[in-house]
Symmetry: C2
Subunit: 132 residues, 2 copies
DNA sequence: TAATATTTGTTATAATATAACACTATGTAA
DNA sequence: TTACATAGTGTTATATTATAACAAATATTA
């Protein structure tokens, strides 16, 4: 199974740092953090990121050019991602809503397109930022 | 009403070129095209793009860093966008599906977030690319 | 073993986007 | 009309994000 494959050294280092963060990290901030572990160049980070996205260990938040770890085994297979993003504090959370994902997974347009993947990003204000 | 406001010279030039294209355009390709009209620098393009996105005349395809004209008056207000993207030929279409957008518009998570906007991108293969 | 594919390390560079600042046009209100 | 505020412009410089190209090292498989 793809998401159980063995990771290489660089992939492990990069994944580790993303998993330790509750919030999305940017490629060059990851690079900065992993320099002490022997990763020196952007490409080394981007290559690891590409692979980790491909196997579903992390997701890219497209509107933010940032990467967050996935904690749900299901979207690793379906490539179906939903995020909520606070436009004030930039807090990002992955949403796992079975009903919503079923709805989207089975969505068919009238153009005959065959979908294999989707990405949905909700924007707004989180509970904290509404109060303040 | 916001989407009927008068556009400035640069905004018109940039909008014009995006509206003439059926497919999303990238900022620097827009810049290249509008140089003959007196726009010389990236910032002039990006400022026009920002404004046009803000008033809903165009949308940004986040996963592609590209901009496409909106032909639907409704998403100019709601900032609710859905796109289908062919991963083979890169054909992009905006989807206007009332049922889907109602479903998303009224979506509530259990975190107390208040959403004002969403962007959904479907990826797959278009009719043509499936055949070939 | 040899062949094959994948990953790595490295330098250089491409592509995307914003900061800062002086200036200009436009609208609003004394 | 003048004063002020707001938004847009033109420009140079720079920041941020991402990939090309190539040689060397490592892992996979036959
Ligand atoms: Zn996930
Ligand atoms: Zn917030
Ligand atoms: Zn639209
Ligand atoms: Zn296609």
């Amino acid at each position: 199974m793809q998401n159980q494959q063995v990771l290489t050294k660089n992939q492990k280092i990069v994944l580790d740092i993303i998993e330790k963060s509750s919030q999305p990290l940017k490629a060059y901030s990851i690079l900065f953090d992993v320099k002490k572990k022997g990763i020196n160049a952007p490409l080394q980070v981007y290559r690891a990121l590409d692979k980790l996205v491909e196997i579903g260990k992390i997701h890219k938040i497209e509107s933010r050019n940032a990467f967050i770890a996935c904690k749900n085994s299901k979207c690793q297979i379906t490539k179906a991602t939903v995020f909520s993003i606070c436009e004030n504090c930039e807090d990002v959370k992955e949403i796992h809503d079975h009903k919503l994902s079923e709805h989207l997974k089975h969505y068919k347009d009238n153009k005959g397109m065959k979908y294999s993947k989707y990405n949905l990003e909700f924007f707004g204000l989180c509970k904290n930022c509404i109060k303040n």
